[in-house]
């Protein structure tokens, strides 16, 4: 490894001094941009709008279920379609692209790169995702989507969703490749910031999962358009998609959230992350256990659903229980880091804490799901678990946006609005998730498999009330998202926040806010996972020495 030492200075200089072309202005600065920060902001802003719409639809679906015999907002058939719309919107048009966008903007800064590995591919991914998402939504407007009655509109949903998956996969490839190959001299993977690490490991598993879903959807499309509809026709489409909202696949969506928390906690504890390597291992374990493309519903030749052969079998149970381990371990590390530090209670930490709690509750609910005797699989307990994990991830992501706002927008977000927005999403998700889970414990099936029809008549009123509560909870979450969007649009007035308003630890805090094209004029020496923290402490130590 002699070469590691010899060319370091020259390598640092080369990495820090790219020769960028002139930054685009006007329309080109947005529509034609290849700047990862702009692309990331486009992803974040657009996905937030889709999330608001999804939460509103989810709220209406919950309210519709209040009186299963009487209340008519959509009607029975449309309610099923709206349920699939809010679930599709929440995951593929909301949480995943929000995380991808945040990573596209922040990961290159964290690893000391001038840009992402494939900036134009990331830009193309955004535009393809945007128009494909529009087509998915349009398919619902013309009686399509799962359970739709218009064959071409159902096909449009499938084809549009495949395009959405391709776009998300391309954007993920760009981020993962950035972490894998564009790290600054001195930054080994071992020293990679934990958000970037979580994108590497989580993104790898996304890339193993999304193509499987796209392939399954392609087969479904061919079956629907040209085949015998042995996969169940329009009604069967949702069975081919729904596994992405169940454990274990659900967990891999939350992996970047673990990375975000792990980057926020030490900054606000004003000390290094406790056992950085262990944190890397635990995040990796969470990602590995989150590979769940194998846990899908089967299909039979006559169009009926085959029983899921993996339900209540050892692998599924093991994954359900083991998934708690990394989350618990990380919670322990974060508690230790905060306990030994001087905690500064900033907005990002508060949101990260609330989101982390939701994710933990969701994972714990998953451990209960795999206990066969409780008979929770197939009920709205799973829907509640999905709500907790996805909205928990969302709250953490909002914390991440607040944390990295100086790098994204050049300004800090207003504290009151950010906290209010995040808190409303947290409370809404908590209420909705728990209400759905309790209704599931009272034997309410998932909506697509009958809903409250399986509930004992004695429990029906309670379950319907819980459905209403879940609808109200999602309504509150929608309101919180609107407030969070307002916070992002408003930002703080006055001068910029400075390059490093939080006293950050990782490399993104060594550049300007917002970063210039090419990101870094000079890079600090990277000798640990917290180079900016090291540089600050070295400077403070030398100052003390000099004054002494």
């Amino acid at each position: 490894m002699t070469v590691t030492e010899a060319p370091r200075d020259a390598a640092l200089e080369a990495a820090a001094a790219p020769s960028p072309s002139a930054p685009p202005t006007g329309l080109a600065a947005v529509v034609g941009s290849g700047d990862p920060r702009t692309i990331g902001k486009l992803f974040v802003g657009t996905s937030l709008l889709f999330l608001i719409a999804s939460a509103v639809v989810g709220s209406l679906v919950g309210i519709e279920q209040y009186d299963t015999a009487g209340t008519e907002i959509f009607g029975a058939d449309t309610t099923l379609r709206m349920f699939t719309l809010q679930a599709t919107g929440l995951l593929f048009l909301g949480v995943l692209p929000l995380l991808v966008g945040l990573a596209t903007a922040i990961v290159p800064l964290q690893v000391g790169a001038a840009t992402v590995a494939f900036p134009r591919a990331s830009a193309a991914a955004y535009w393809v995702w945007l128009v494909s998402s529009g087509l998915v939504l349009a398919s619902y407007a013309i009686d399509g989507g799962p359970f739709g009655t218009e064959p071409e509109a159902v096909s449009l949903y499938i084809a549009g969703l495949i395009a959405v998956l391709v776009a998300l996969a391309v954007a993920t490839v760009s981020v993962v490749t950035t972490v894998a190959t564009l790290r600054a001299p001195g930054m080994s993977l071992r020293r990679t910031p934990l958000f970037s690490w979580s994108m590497l490991v989580g993104g790898s598993v996304w890339l193993l999962t999304l193509p499987v879903l796209a392939g399954v959807l392609l087969v479904t499309y061919l079956d629907l358009r040209y085949g015998e509809q042995f996969l169940g026709g329009s009604g069967g489409v949702w069975n081919r998609v729904a596994w992405t909202l169940w454990q274990p696949t659900l967990y891999v969506v939350a992996v970047p959230a673990l990375g975000i928390i792990a980057d926020i906690v030490p900054v606000f504890a004003r000390r290094r992350h406790q056992r950085h390597r262990s944190a890397m291992f635990l995040i990796g374990l969470a990602a590995a256990l989150g590979f769940g493309a194998w846990a899908q519903l089967g299909a039979t030749i006559d169009g009926s659903d085959a029983p899921a052969v993996w339900i209540n079998e050892a692998p599924w149970q093991a994954v359900g229980f083991l998934a708690v381990v990394p989350v618990l371990g990380l919670l322990g590390l974060w508690t230790g880091t905060l306990g030994r530090g001087k905690v500064k209670l900033g907005t990002p930490l508060i949101l990260a804490g609330m989101g982390g709690l939701l994710v933990f509750l969701g994972v714990a609910a998953g451990a209960a799901t795999v206990i066969g005797e409780l008979d929770l699989s197939g009920t709205t307990w799973m829907t509640g678990q999905t709500t907790l994990v996805l909205l928990g991830t969302l709250v953490v992501a909002l914390g991440g946006v607040a944390f990295w706002a100086p790098k994204l927008y050049g300004k800090l977000l207003p504290d009151v609005l950010s906290r209010l927005g995040g808190t409303l999403v947290f409370l809404g998700a908590l209420v909705a998730g728990i209400a759905l889970a309790v209704a599931g414990a009272l034997s309410q099936s998932r909506l697509v498999t009958g809903g409250a029809t399986a509930v004992d008549s004695g429990d029906l009123d309670t379950v319907e009330t819980l459905n209403l509560v879940s609808g109200i909870g999602l309504g509150v979450a929608a309101l919180g998202l609107v407030v969070a969007a307002l916070a992002m649009a408003k930002r703080r007035s006055g001068d910029g926040p400075g390059d490093d308003p939080w006293d950050g630890h990782t490399l993104e805090w060594a550049t300007s806010s917002p970063p210039a094209v090419g990101h870094f004029a000079t890079l600090p020496a990277i000798t640990s996972e917290a180079p900016v923290y090291d540089a600050r402490h070295a400077a403070a130590a030398s100052k003390t020495e000099a004054s002494a």
């Binding site: 590691t4 290849g34 790290r183 089967g298 993996w310």
Partner: protein, 272 residues
Amino acid sequence: MITTGSKWFFGLGFVSLVLAAAYGWTTGGNGLGPLTAGYKGGVGDHFGYGILLAAAVISIFLGAVATAARDADAEVVAQVAGTDTVPPVTPAGASYWPPVAGFGAALIVIGLVSEPLLFVFGLIVVGIVLVEWAVQAWADRATGDPETNRRIRNRLMNPIEYPAAGALALAVVALAFAQVFLALSAEVAVWVALAAAVVIVAAGFLIASRPRISSNVVVGVLVVGALIVIGLGVAGGVAGTREFHEHEEESDHGAEGALAPLAAPAVVEVAR
């Protein structure tokens, strides 16, 4: 040395392998089938087992790549390249091709479920984007000077782009005018054509008589004119063609005018 990246990929591969074996045995596999990919016994549910095994193989392969590439650490990359420094990465400049790719993807999706012609058109758009993209990516790395790179790219692509764009623009304008004329009655269409010709000649005359006119104004006039023509063409296409044909057929040849010229003598005979 096992690097951090290879540890992750090997770990993912190991977890997938263990899950594959457990999954195979718990879903009906027997003997050594789940351990031997079905060579010595059954593997149980093929779908889930296949996915887990594929994930394991891919992960282990990537682990081997990460080991061989030493996690692509900057120092190692420089060492392999035989240079003192890692190759600099230049941020991408502005390009409108990514949004065009989005447009092409939309055409493919819509065409796939509705109109094959749209699907083919979408494929063509995406194909053009890929070619343009490849050339631009190559040109971006041609020299260290972005302006020189831009010139190189333009010298290569403009001789192809301008004729192609011109032909496309002509086709769109001709199609738009045709839709407008088809939507109008024959008499009105003649007057509209004359008016359009006068407007085009007048605009050309005005532009030609002012040699110092700003190119932005010329571009603006052309863009507004193109938008008006395309808008009218779309409106004409949506509103008029079918009624125009029915009207003409009824007035010239009566209710059975679909048979057109050959049927005309019979109509005359009936009239006697």
